[in-house]
Amino acid sequence: MARSLDIPTKGGFSFDLCRRNEMLLKKGIQLPSFRKTGTTIVGLVFQDGVILGADTRATEGPIVADKNCEKIHYMAPNIYCCGAGTAADTEAVTDMVSSQLQLHRYATGRESRVITALTLLKSHLFGYQGHVSAALVLGGVDVTGPHLHTVYPHGSTDTLPFATMGSGSLAAMAVFESKYREGLTRDEGIQIVSEAICSGIFNDLGSGSNVDVCVITKGNTEYLRNYQLPNPRTYVSSKGYSFGKGHTEVLSSKIIQLKPKIKAIEGGDAMEE
């Protein structure tokens, strides 16, 4: 019976636990909250290409689950994507489209285009009618020039010269609207992007920690991880806690020695006939 065998499936979602989870909901048990990336993500087009920026806080309800997560995901050597929304959805959808783009590059023999990534993302998200909760800022440079797009969870997209998404988008957009102009240089662009992310970090509770920046130009991509660290940890005690050996009360202990793995050597002495 195929149903009881746990053969690795061919991919896509599996819905077999849905009935049980529905039953639990009816019994009054609340479903868990998923890890979200509260987030401030931004992108802008400058004279030579595209600059993407993101904060690095991942939240689980009101608790900070990860103080330094990566929200700028790789799609292709010339295309990167920032993700906001449910963390598992943004990671899974960007990984999936990145693999599809790689296969497409092998089939066509050409560099990927940003519009290809955009179409793959929007068709996937529209198909799941917004239940895959991923809001993305997609940017890259291809043969047709620099492109910046935003993708919403329901599958709609916008093509813009500068864009912000996430809970900190209003704070970041305020900075962009006052400082953005066409024809920015690389340094000016990075400066405006990090100011916008810092605005999100300090004013929005769902965003925090550090600033990540990614600069994409024709033929070159620079991923500046932790470009700015405006929130260093200052309250560490210099002595720290030190517990002496034997401080904790132990009921029983078992020590197992790990055997080193024996390697078989090729071309050793043959057995005598």
Binding site: Y241, V250, K254
Partner: protein, 204 residues
Amino acid sequence: MSIFEYNGSALVAMVGKNCFAIASDRRLGVQLQTIATDFQRVYKIHDKLYVGLSGLATDAQTLYERLVFRHKLYQLREERDMKPETFASLVSALLYEKRFGPYFCQPVIAGLGDDDVPFICTMDCLGAKELAKDFVVSGTASESLYGACESMYKPNMEPDELFETISQALLASVDRDCLSGWGGYVLLVTPTEVQEKILKGRMD
């Protein structure tokens, strides 16, 4: 009452110098009634890779069996053990497959990779990976664990000191959580040996 608070659990993993430690509490309850005080939450995948599963106990056991099955198939095909990073991707994929009807489990994965570099990671119930260089926590006591680990953790601890630190952080945190406790189980793995210790804790 949330589904994660049905059984109660506390899990923490910490990185030391060329070693790692993974610890869990030992209580299994059905809401407020304790039904077991020796429940195992940390499972072995291979000599240098362990996974702890918090959340609903039945989903934790089912998920463990599926993971062991997939790892055994991998061993047969590749003729070697899985690297911790690969295993983390496997767990993430298995959890995300059930995106719209998830397993109510939050795994904590800890292993020694190539050149005995320690690797730890945790995920939410949908498989969103969180790689950390210092510590990861999971379970109903996670909020207390975050606080205790933030203050007690130091980088590059030797195995003995790491054992003491992780035990104190675990015991301090479960004392502030009704649903976890009844002692602790700590597993410390170095390149040459594995130490399993059972801690005495409060029995309430």
